[in-house]
């Protein structure tokens, strides 16, 4: 590093995440993968990274550490990442049911992605893992949070990411025009690298 700064034109800026200010809980039964995720998070600048090796200790870590972001595997002993998500997404709980949950998994089949979405997962990241992809998911949950939807059968982040007016599928929500929520534009300005 030569210490030379790049000065951007006036009014132009990029969004960065101050990882010092974020607390993570990483839940994965594979110690190698936990170490990789921890290495990446520390590389981003995070200081507080707590680990758990199964769903039960993950839930305990979530309750104890009150993380800002949860990163969880899917397939784990005792209870899996999907069940863990459903336990965290309890409206009115004393913990933080709105916590962003990033599911990092080797599963990538359509039915799995839909099941994760319907359990209340915020972001889905299929392995193999890269620093760039993990950073982008974290950037997205920090800079571009979605409102939560509560129905009789669902509590979790708004599953409608697409505000395309051409949608012609069945309308599952009733009650007014305020049905589709445009995403905050902040993420559009964010760049991972120069």
């Amino acid at each position: 590093m030569n210490g030379r700064a790049i000065v951007r034109p006036s009014g132009c800026c990029m969004i960065r995440i101050d990882f010092h200010r974020l607390r993570f809980v990483v839940i994965d039964d594979n110690a190698h993968m936990r170490r990789i995720i921890r290495t990446l998070l520390h590389g981003f600048g995070a200081r507080e990274v707590h680990e758990a090796e199964d769903g039960a200790t993950g839930l305990e870590a979530f309750t104890h550490h009150l993380p800002d972001i949860v990163i969880t595997d899917w397939a784990m002993p005792i209870f899996d990442g999907l069940e863990l998500t459903q336990m965290i997404r309890q409206p009115g709980s004393n913990g933080n049911p709105f916590v962003p949950i990033i599911m990092l998994t080797g599963h990538s089949e359509k039915k799995r992605v839909i099941a994760a979405r319907d359990a209340g997962v915020t972001e889905f990241l299929a392995k193999p893992l890269s620093a760039k992809a993990l950073y982008q998911r974290i950037l997205n949950v920090v800079a571009n949070p979605r409102p939560f939807i509560k129905t009789k059968t669902y509590f979790g982040p708004d599953r409608r990411r697409n505000t395309n007016g051409n949608y012609n599928g069945p309308e599952r929500r009733k009650g007014g025009k305020a049905e589709v929520f445009a995403q905050a534009p902040l993420i559009d300005k964010a760049k991972v690298t120069d």
Partner: protein, 195 residues
Amino acid sequence: MVRPKNDRPNTAIYDDHEVITPPNRLVKAIKKVTVTVPGDDPVERAETALSKLSSEFTSWMSAECDRLDAARNAVKTFGFGKKTLDELFHAAHDIKGDASTFGYAAVAPAAESLCRVLEYSPEASRIPLPLIDQHVDAIRAIVREYARPDAEQIAHALTKKLWEVSEEFLTAANKDRPDYLAGILSPPIAPNGNS
């Protein structure tokens, strides 16, 4: 836990759903940068940290293969019970997910093929043990010979054959479930960790 008044979510109530906008507690971590310093890219820093860890990847991959071998032996010794099946699936699934990160990308498709056989067979006890053996032995061989210059070609040829045999088996095993078969043969839709 009592939340401060300004920390409460806003809720809009509709006929059959509520829209809740929680306060963005993570906004504290957003910073706008107008001046960047070379070498201060967080992704580059993380990649550098990961590359320092890479000297351990060979032994990690070897450990994952030993775990897979032990899981295969448990199936052969104790049969296909929930515990033995779960462990074999998880061992293969971890290799599928981790191999590329560990620098063994050519191993992942063979592990994925084994996962598919285990997951999509209607009855695990009817999976031919030689099919399990072929997968486990192929995965171990690819890892063992990964330093060879032609390792990727060998891995590709082995994997192609494994997929053909596995798809043939799954097609026959699920012949009475055409809808299910169509679902398992559809391509994945999730973005992977490189995108």
